[in-house]
């Protein structure tokens, strides 16, 4: 077993940044006080690089890299905001809106939605892509919560929080291509999945109005994405052990 590796030094937007050798590029960017938008990333959960909003330019790399799943390296020269990146990010957000049925005005998450906030952040005022208006379902079979597939952006935070923190593994991703969707159990109605502990962590971390408490009406959802990290810290740092 080796000891902790020495920190690395890299350049981000011209700033020299020091980061732990095992850090991701996203951690290094944020620890330097810089911002890149993210949707699938959530502190406390394993990064998956699904949303593509944290793409950055790394000099010498032939393609854009998602910062959340890219390890830092000594001497790396990184750019988080270029005209090309800004264009791609806006395009990615427009595609999220065009792909699903996101009607902010009547959504439970209106005003507390990360997709909505990111759209503002990247300067999206309309979608240049035709809206697909897919026919999707609302799974309201659970006694406490509902899943509105219209609003799901397949970030998989629910899948990961249920698997990694609650250890119930209710959620998975099923089907392919534009039919891809979050499924409960073996593609059963959520309310029929015995593995669900009704803990609500998936609802807390969902970045949009896809997962919500049944009582929530328009604009009433109060997400708690910070709880994933709080639970991880409490567990790893033994916050609740008797001293």
């Amino acid at each position: 077993m080796t000891g902790a590796q020495l920190p690395v030094r890299l350049s981000i937007n011209g700033l020299v940044v020091e980061a732990a050798a095992e850090a991701t590029l996203l951690q290094a960017i944020r620890s330097a006080g810089l911002q890149v938008p993210t949707l699938c990333h959530l502190d406390g959960l394993t990064p998956v690089g699904a949303c593509r909003l944290c793409l950055v330019v790394i000099e010498g790399h032939p393609k854009l890299e998602p910062a959340c799943v890219t390890a830092v390296a000594d001497g790396m020269v990184v750019h988080t905001h270029t005209p090309e990146l800004d264009t791609y990010r806006r395009m990615a957000v427009e595609l999220f809106f065009a792909e699903g049925n996101h009607v902010c005005a009547v959504c439970v998450a209106n005003g507390a939605c990360e997709l909505q906030a990111v759209a503002v952040e990247v300067g999206m005022d309309h979608s240049r892509f035709p809206y697909q208006y897919p026919r999707r379902e609302v799974d309201a079979s659970h006694p406490l919560f509902s899943l509105d597939h219209h609003r799901c952006i397949l970030c998989t935070r629910c899948v990961r929080v249920c698997d990694e923190i609650e250890a119930a593994h209710v959620w998975d991703v099923g089907y392919r291509g534009s039919s891809c969707s979050i499924i409960a159990g073996l593609d059963q109605p959520w309310g029929e999945v015995a593995a669900c502990t009704n803990c609500g962590k998936c609802v807390d971390v969902c970045p949009t109005g896809a997962l919500f408490r049944k009582e929530d009406g328009s604009g009433e959802k109060q997400p708690h994405p910070e709880r994933a990290q709080q639970l991880v810290e409490a567990r790893t740092e033994h916050h609740w052990h008797n001293q």
């Binding site: 009547v106 309201a140 509902s146 509105d148």
Partner: protein
Amino acid sequence: MNPDSTPRTITIDPVTRIEGHAKITLHLDDAGEIAAARFHVVEYRGFETFCEGRPFTEMAGITARICGICPVSHLLAAAKTGDKLLGVQPPPAARQLRLLLNLAQICQSHALSFFHLSSPDFLLGWESDPAKRNVFGLMAADPELARAGIRLRQFGQQIIELLAGRKIHSAWAVPGGVRSPLSAIARDWILERLPEARATAAAALELYKKLLDGPLQREQLTFGDFPSLFMGLVAPDGGWECIEGAIRFIDSHGRIVADGLSEDDYASFLGEAVESWSYLKFPYYKPLGYPEGMYRVGPLARLNVCERIGTAWADAELAELRQRSGTVESGGRIITSSFAYHHARLVEIVACLEGIEQLVADDALMGGRIRAHASLNANGAVGVSEAPRGTLFHHYRVNDDGLITRVNLIIATGQNNLAMNRTVAQIAREFIPTPVAAGAEIPEPLLNRVEAGIRCFDPCLSCSTHAAGQMPLRIELVDAAGRVLAERVRD
């Protein structure tokens, strides 16, 4: 008479200074006399269909989007339907807060109808320049009155914002109650502005009564004056009501035709007929059939069905309205002229102001329990509220998961549809000289009176067809063979 040479249809398209998009056609017979008039609503939205599949908890937020003028009505009807799906009675404070919201809405909507939309006809004159016969013309001619009217509407709108967070399209009322109580800031603002609102209402009533005694005498007699049923909510003691209570039908003689009806049973007493030429349905009182079951809703109907309002000034104004306009055969109890909708709106503004004053004095509205919580306990429910334009029904069916499987919305304006058609025909016969000669131009002031007949009802076509769009007016003149011989369009 040669049908090729004689104009046989007059079209008013679009109808102006109403909320929505419509046209009017006046149909002439072979002799060039007005044979019929039709008020066509030409927009369509389909809310009832696209709400299917949504959780019922979202219906308040979704249906409030039907209309920018009376979103509160849909919000309240949806929330009341939600109460029944949950099987709960909202806490008393929540019911009072909902009432406060509705009073504010009726006040602002009536102010809009009277000052912005209809008063230019009365105050500037039927013959005045149509380009200036609007609220801007009113501002030029009588800036004090226009300002007061605009501020009266603002008073109602501001109360809505103070309570519900925004002036339009709030989702503040929810199944089981409301989201927040009345704040001290809101109460103080309301109390501070009440005297001005009362003064404006008093001035408007004084001005309007003078007009009734003078230049508007002919209109009172000819703008949709006919017998019909009237429907509205009344309180258990027969008093004026705008959100709770039970449904009453009264006839032109003042006889109570049906009383204590529950909205749950609306399908047993209301039918909805459809005509091929309009997207607006034609509700009727089922026991009398279609179209004999014509009934009117809205401010005039509410004042006709109730025994009293219950506050001093409003009751005095109601007594004067009945004394001025009540029919002889009803002993002055019932007003049948649709023109009296304008007067009724002013009386209701007074009722709202007095009601608001009483409610804000109640500290119970400022905290405590305002929302009852439950899960789904029923698979269908009907909610009702009195919108500014009349009784509004929301009927939802849901599956066991609470997802909507069917929606039926019966909107106030639709319920006045038969009466609006009859009103248009009556005005056309009174004011358009017949026989209409070949190629004759119908003077604009005459057509404006036909439009004004529609404005008496303050129709909201966005609501009534649950439809989108602006509301210009078109009038067509159609001959016996169905050909459009003349038309007039206004944006």
